[in-house]
């Protein structure tokens, strides 16, 4: 099974291929950027799973909803009538998951959305969205330098979560 280290390594490999390519660099830069994003997704989802696997009563229902990516619904019929429960799959945004993990499990209590780390993360997210939701009026302006920057952003976000949640630096 692949993990975030694999995705980061593939991303880097694609950037290197783009560097070697003289004409059409985009065919390597696009997968590289997606892989940088996937590395964060993989890392964060696995941490969410770690907490999602704990006994239910250690978390509030809405927290479990976020951890397990399920919708909290109000039951209006049957044996559980009048109670809240987790129901169908409801995908959560990656950024929200990170905000939750930091707020819940770290002692970082200052806003960090204005810092360059988060700004870079949002930049990576926007570029990823442009790739995944293409339109003729959206121009992709990708460069090797940008791809390296996104790769670095991916590593920095992973390290940020690791040091705050696990309180340990990880090696890539």
């Amino acid at each position: 099974m692949l993990n975030y280290r694999d995705y980061l390594s593939y991303s880097e490999k694609y950037i290197q291929l783009a560097e070697e390519e003289s004409l059409d660099k985009l065919k390597f830069l696009i997968p590289s950027i997606l892989l940088s994003w996937i590395a964060i997704e993989s890392f964060i989802n696995n941490i969410m799973d770690d907490f999602g696997s704990l006994p239910e009563d250690l978390f509030e229902l809405h927290e479990r909803g976020l951890l397990l990516e399920k919708k909290v619904i109000f039951v209006d019929h049957g044996g559980e009538m009048g109670k809240f429960k987790l129901d169908y799959r409801e995908y959560k945004r990656l950024g929200e998951k990170i905000l939750f993990l930091i707020a819940k499990f770290s002692n970082l209590n200052k806003p960090y959305k204005g810092e360059s780390l988060w700004q870079n993360f949002e930049d990576l997210r926007d570029t990823r969205n442009k790739i995944l939701h293409p339109r003729r009026n959206i121009e992709l302006e990708l460069t090797v330098e940008k791809a390296y920057k996104y790769l670095e952003t991916s590593k920095n976000i992973i390290q940020f979560v690791s040091t705050n949640v696990w309180r340990k630096k990880i090696s890539f």
Partner: protein, 421 residues
């Protein structure tokens, strides 16, 4: 021959007589030259000894390589490690002996209490002693002996330990010696009773080369069982899965582990009759044997020693025995724990050794070698959780998803316990 006591040695009539008797029975160079013999006394353990030279042909007839810690106990086994007669270093030693090399500082005890026709019990330099014996037809030289007299068990053990300290002797050999000296044969008898050892079998002197339980493993099993038992008494059933458990590895080598010593001082007389502990041991042995056979006889899995003996990996054994103790007061889960994990066409061995070895959590270093491969606190916590989670069901298979969830639980609980919630 004049016999003197060195100035730091306290005079003892008994020792003087023993030394005198030794010289009457064993011809030495000192006897032949009629030089005075000095008796020394060890400053640490007060044992008495002399230094003398004995001819190879004489020595070869009276040296005993099967020295025992408990001289009078017929159940006491040979204490030294096995001879490595094919080792390159030994072969060179043998060649040197045949070519006339004189060896020195062979450590022996003069003791006729057992195997009386071979009173020189070898405690240090058994390879040199063996080489000398093998070379008597080629060379008959004088060799230097340090001969101890009137040793008690404690002194004997220490002589054995200090004589072997510089020779790369395994901790398993030290453990075996110290175990017998300190606690007698209770642990060995317990292992024989369970079936870990044959009726007349002793612990291996080098665990890594054998496929048997070692002193360290047996001690760890017992310590973890009782630690888990104590912990289990304080936990309600509904709280069992909300904790991280910390199995314990007993120290090995030249000192006795303090936790093990504590348990033995309290329970030494009960261990052989503690039915629950015996049942745990038997169930664990069943798991080990099933794993062993599943790997040995199955072409679907590589027949690697590490896979065959997965149950005997220290973190697996400690995690399993801790949970066996923990669940003594939670009978239904204990019975599930004692069930051998199910195998499938894709998972041919109950412990799924290959999958465990491939396992890696995101928080692990890239060099992490997998579950149940190391003697680390983290690995033991994870294995304890694997077995605890397994005890929730009687039809459990240790597949990849199961292992992932168990480790996720440990990582999640560890983070939660830091108290930032």
């Amino acid at each position: 021959m004049k016999i003197l006591f060195e100035e730091n040695a306290k005079k003892s009539e008994k020792i003087e007589k023993l030394v005198s008797r030794f010289f009457k029975k064993v011809p030495t160079l000192e006897n032949k030259l009629d030089v005075p013999m000095v008796i020394f006394q060890d400053g640490v353990n007060n044992s008495y000894y002399i230094k003398c030279q004995v001819l190879a042909r004489i020595a070869s007839k009276i040296i005993d390589l099967n020295a025992k810690i408990k001289a009078k106990d017929p159940e006491s086994f040979r204490a030294n490690r096995e001879l490595m007669l094919k080792d390159t270093t030994y072969l060179k030693m043998e060649l040197d002996a045949a070519n006339g090399r004189e060896f020195n500082d062979i450590i022996v005890e003069y003791n006729s209490e057992y195997n009386a026709d071979k009173p020189l019990k070898v405690w240090g330099g058994q390879h040199r002693a063996h080489a000398i014996s093998g070379a008597i037809n080629s060379a008959n030289r004088y060799h230097g002996f340090k001969v101890y007299f009137d040793l008690n068990e404690k002194q004997r053990t220490e002589v054995a330990l200090i004589s072997n300290t510089n020779m790369g002797v395994s901790d398993d050999t030290f453990d075996r010696m110290l175990e017998e000296t300190t606690f007698g044969n209770t642990l060995r008898k317990w292992c024989q009773k369970i079936g870990f050892l044959g009726p007349k079998e002793d612990f291996p002197d080098v665990g890594s080369r054998s496929e048997k339980i070692t002193v360290k493993l047996a001690r760890s099993f017992i310590v973890n069982y009782y630690m888990g038992l104590d912990k289990g008494k304080t936990i309600k059933s509904e709280e069992l899965d909300k904790n991280i458990y910390d199995p314990y590895v007993t120290e090995t080598g030249v000192s006795i582990d303090s936790k093990y010593a504590e348990i033995m001082s309290e329970k030494r007389n009960k261990i052989l009759s503690d039915k629950s502990l015996i049942e745990a041991g038997e169930k664990f042995l069943e798991l080990h044997r099933t794993q062993y056979e599943a790997v040995k006889g199955n072409p679907k899995i590589r027949n690697r020693k590490a896979y065959r003996n997965k149950a005997l990996v220290i973190s697996v054994l400690c995690g399993w025995s801790y949970i066996a103790g923990l669940l003594q007061n939670h009978r239904a889960r204990l019975l599930n724990h004692y069930m051998i994990p199910k195998t499938t066409s894709k998972i041919p061995d109950p412990l799924n050794a290959e999958e465990m070895s491939n396992f890696k959590h995101d928080s692990d270093l890239p060099t992490y070698r997998g579950l149940g491969t190391r003697q680390s606190a983290k690995d033991m916590q994870r294995l304890a959780q694997v077995f605890l989670a397994k005890s929730l069901s009687d039809t459990c298979t240790l597949d990849k998803q199961f292992l992932q969830k168990a480790v996720s639980t440990v990582v999640g609980l560890t983070t939660l316990k830091r108290g930032y919630v």
